[in-house]
Subunit: 230 residues, 2 copies
DNA sequence: AAAAAACTTGACTAGTTGGTCAAATTTGAA
DNA sequence: TTCAAATTTGACCAACTAGTCAAGTTTTTT
């Protein structure tokens, strides 16, 4: 997994010194306590930032969730923004590889099936990470804009080309590759971001074992086969 | 259009006096100035709340965007929460009718095509409203939970039954109606909520005339026909 | 035109927030 | 064990925030 470096533009149209990669900020052989506490803080931060957003989140709350004083939180991270930045980086890190892994020489249906399944599993297992990312983008991506415009755009262009090749070879129906990708992202992340709404509508059944598989089956069925009778 | 009443549980686990319908709060023959200023405030609030979230938004910012003093904003609305509540109500109000309008005796493909087109148009024309709603749900829907669990759930159950009938009649492929609905919501709202990401990836072309139609065509094509070669 | 009603605002308050600092307490290498 | 380095925290501060208040200004009614 390649380290992801995001950020450049700071908040509120100010520029701050970036980028700092996660690995950089965390190199220099951390002590046991450092590893533990940074991890506790990041977990707490993920939780708080993902529900309250950057501005709505408070250091007090993060500290409380992490089980330590606010002062101590600031001993491990220089500022609120740095905590947010690190949590965001950590989140995005795990999302690119599976997308990159879509193989041009594989079977199109099988490649997409695997990717969709993976994304749905992520939504089920790490809903907070998904919401953190969603929140950042909805804010106008103050920290991630450059990443979206460069590395992510390049990657998407690449995979769109792969999909277009598949279509030219008659292996896929002639649809716009970009909108297909957006649709997959939209649908898979919806299960994390709108979890509250889904639970409200489906009730218990959305919390039962196997719900994820059921969702995956339905989503795959629609994307692969559409809804026209067959 | 029926008036929507949302809310019951207040913020931060406290209970406040609700529900107050929009029409109630705004009845009593408003003066010209009242109509104008309430409208200005709500527009400003929609903008600020949709990007900064409830907690991150400030009255100062809303007042500034509305072009008046904070004190005056509080002359028209009793509190920040009431502004948020009203903006949210106003947003949801317009979303139910077209969903309700899905007709059991219509042509399934045509009914869904119309609904999807409508939702995509809303995303293009009122992205802030979409983000406001998304934000509320991501926060755990403190103000809308009851609405989601009652009126919305009932409506969704109703339409899911309609879709199931269509399937039984062989007019649609056998897919789970709920996941189909979620998928439509996810995809259509994605174009508003993740606008920043889409623009970052597609660049200018996403701002050109006709982009909305192009997106609608692609989405409809995939949902209706799937991506298997045909 | 005059008075009442509606509207608008600057000054202020109490509570919150991100961050600092110096003084402990704990940890771990020798 | 010893002691320097690492860790932890309470007290504190300046900036910000939702909301109040009283004093003006504008609009509407008569």
């Amino acid at each position: 997994m390649r380290a992801v470096t995001i950020g450049q533009a700071g908040f509120d149209h100010q520029f701050v010194e970036y980028p700092i990669t996660l690995s950089q900020a965390a190199n220099k052989k951390q002590s046991r306590i450092q590893v533990e506490n940074r991890s506790l803080i990041l977990a707490a931060a993920l939780n708080v930032f993902s529900t309250d957003g950057y501005r709505g989140a408070t250091l007090d709350r993060i500290a409380e969730r992490a089980g330590m004083s606010k002062t101590n939180v600031l001993y491990y991270f220089p500022s609120k923004e740095e905590i947010y930045h690190t949590a965001l980086e950590q989140t995005v890190e795990g999302w690119l590889d599976p997308f990159e892994a879509i193989a041009a020489d594989g079977d199109p249906i099988e490649e997409l099936r695997r990717y969709i399944s993976f994304k749905l599993r992520m939504s089920a297992e790490q809903p907070e990470a998904s919401r953190l990312f969603a929140n950042e983008v909805q804010r106008g991506a103050p920290l991630m804009l450059e990443f979206l415009q460069t590395r992510l755009k390049t990657l998407v262009d690449e995979k769109a080309a792969v999909i277009r090749d598949w279509i030219d070879q008659g292996k896929l129906a002639p649809i716009d590759p970009y909108h297909l990708i957006f649709m997959i992202w939209a649908t898979t992340q919806h299960y994390a971001d709108f979890d509250t709404q889904i639970v409200a509508i489906l009730g218990d059944q959305s919390k039962k074992q196997g719900f994820h598989e059921q969702a995956a089956h339905a989503v795959l069925s629609i994307i692969l086969n559409g809804i026209r009778p067959r």
